[in-house]
Amino acid sequence: MTTLVRTSTLKATVIGTGLISKEHLSFLAESNRANLVGVCDLSEAAANYATQRFGAKKFYTNYRQMLDEVKPDVVHILTPPHTHKTIAMDCLQAGAHVICEKPITPTYDEFKELWSFAKQCDRHLIENQNYRFNQPIFKLQKLVQEGTLGEVEDIEVRMALDIRSGGRYADENLPSPVHKLPGGVIHDFLTHLCYLTLLFLQDFDGVKVAWNNYGGGDLFKYDDLDALVFSGSKHARIRFSSYTQPDCFSVILRGSRGYAEADLFQPYVRCIVPRAVGKQLSPLANQFSNGWTLMSASVNNFRRKLLQQTPYEGLHFLLDETYKALQENKPLPIGFEDMELTSRLVNALVSQENYL
């Protein structure tokens, strides 16, 4: 890989100015590691708005023109998933590193093709796996590393989102392009569910999955996912539900000594483990401790809501670490193994031979 040893700011551009662009652009507008030199969208009005709002140098409606004129060091690709591969290849060929929204490609084969192309171009390719860098996940990792939970045997990653009763996914007039992904709308969230599972499962050797469309109709391919993932004696459950409330994104780890539970939408981590007071009193001590944890979380989450802190905290961390690694020529926070394994698990979940 060509070294990029310098401490000067990196020229950054953004392609696509939809909902997620707000997070990327606000990072780029505030970061002293990046210089936002261009924003591109098919809509001139959207590109112009983002340029003014986030202080970019210039806007474009043709990304190839932007690559030619600006010659960016880094391109953020925030367009719909089916466009990622073509745009990413053009950016890599133009000499830019690519930070790409999830899923990096709709299929595993396309990912391998894209990765191979990035290696040929001697450029980095990074998929946004932002929730790995949220505080509750760091806390869970610490509990595992310190052996507090013992050997982790069971993992559950669950997302509940009411995608059927309104919002962009339920729009029948102009259906979101993600409906066309192999796993439909759920596929758009699958990357998150998979990399968080693999963060604690490490690898997998078997998958069984039930995809359902309980709400029926032609718009949604599926609205429910229930999957079991096996790795030796370890089990993981990946769950997406459109019909349970409230909305949540929870991770539960069950180990040989105890278990821990975290939520990423309303952040908290609670832990049930043997306490110093002995086996008899440990349940009571756990309840006191958990009560305190939940009360503290309620205050913190009120503050977070007031100050507009979103679950995208991990994205800002990931981007900062990525730019730092690029500047200092150090290993990136998301490497090939992370993306390859995630893409492989996503592929296994949408492969018909694994359907229940």
Binding site: S43, L174, L306
Partner: protein, 346 residues
């Protein structure tokens, strides 16, 4: 005249189509692909051509504009996050204007809103009219105001490129199923109101009055190049409107009052605290954000003088008649089919 009406199935749009038909126009009514037609009495009128498309994409737009004399553009999105409203209001407008240029259609009656004005820096009691300044800090306002301001910029650009544009800014539109008004305060569930202020004049426009003004504007050469505010005559205060609304309600809601002076002080204090101690990062409820609060409740006066002069229009229905019509069983969208058309069909 052949009119192309976007947002034709919306609250105001359905009345505009009805009024345009009554005035003898042919209407291409743009509705979204999945819109239910059953509540639109005019959908099978012989002078209506239904155009099913979503303005957030260009597909089919240029073709559907062929032969059109004037576009009345109402389509906008008032709910959802900023990006949803941006797509439904700004990108939809951008696509429409691009298609109009390609179809070589120049005349546009563009429907904007009172939300684009700068209320915070206006002095209480002053007259808000077409010359009042526009909001200079859109980020302090809600998503609707932000996107409508960008939309107006697109209209101005279209005009600079040779388009002939009449910008119409209606006040708060009310009518059947939309009698509650945000200028009164907030509804607390189904049985209670939080009333903010009492004696501020409400910039109201009854939907049928507004629809008539807009159709006249689309016919009127003198409206081109103009920006025109639309409000009714004899505008009521908040108290008068609330009393009238309660007359037509089955059950009187429990009402909590907060005076304009008190809420303004609270909002100002909250804003200063946010600015000084939280570096402006806090996202407060709208009534604690001065720019949003003033836009809804500030006591101002309003003028429809320019609309009357340019359009030779006078609001047909008073507040009392508007309520009677809104609460009656009459089909307000019914349009009689002209005899000549009936005999032709027969």
């Amino acid at each position: 005249m052949k009119l192309f009406v976007t947002g034709a199935s919306g609250f105001l749009g359905q009345y505009i189509v009805a009024e345009a038909l009554r005035r003898g126009h042919q209407v291409s009514a743009v509705i979204r692909p999945k819109t239910d037609l059953s509540r639109l009495s005019w959908y099978d009128h012989p002078e209506v051509k239904l155009v099913r498309l979503d303005l957030r994409e260009m597909s089919g737009l240029i073709e559907s504009l062929q032969g059109v004399d004037n576009v009345i553009h109402l389509a906008a999105v008032k709910a959802g996050d900023f990006y949803t409203q941006f797509a439904g209001t700004v990108i939809a407008t951008e696509n429409l204007l691009t298609a109009m240029k390609k179809a070589e259609i120049q005349r546009l009656t563009a429907i904007s809103t009172f939300s684009v004005y700068d209320y915070l820096n206006m002095r209480s009691g002053k007259v808000l009219d077409e010359n009042s300044p526009l909001e200079k800090n859109p980020l302090n306002r809600d998503e609707y105001a932000q996107t409508k301001l960008i939309q107006e910029e697109l209209y101005r650009n279209f005009e600079r490129d040779g388009g002939q544009v009449a910008i119409i800014r209606p006040g708060m539109i009310y009518g059947r199923d939309f009698l509650w008004n945000a200028c009164l305060g907030a509804e607390l569930g189904e049985s209670a109101w939080l009333r903010i202020g009492a004696s501020a004049i409400m910039p109201l426009s009854y939907v049928e009055n507004c629809a008539e003004a807009i159709v006249i504007a689309s016919e009127c050469e003198r409206a081109l190049g103009q920006t025109i505010n639309i409000v009714d005559d004899n505008l009521p205060t908040q108290n008068i409107y609330a009393k009238k609304l309660m007359e037509y309600m089955e059950k009187t809601p429990r009402t909590f009052f907060v005076s304009w002076t008190v809420i303004r002080l609270i909002a100002r204090s909250a804003w200063l605290y946010n600015h000084w101690f939280l570096k402006g990062k806090a996202r407060l409820p709208g009534i604690f954000v001065p720019a949003k609060l003033h836009a809804r409740f500030k006591p101002l006066r309003y003028s429809n003088q320019k609309a009357k002069e340019v359009l030779n229009w006078k609001p047909k229905y008073s507040l009392q008649t508007a309520f009677e019509r809104s609460c009656s069983d009459a089909d307000l969208l019914a349009v009689p089919v002209p005899e000549s058309t009936v005999s032709k069909v027969a």
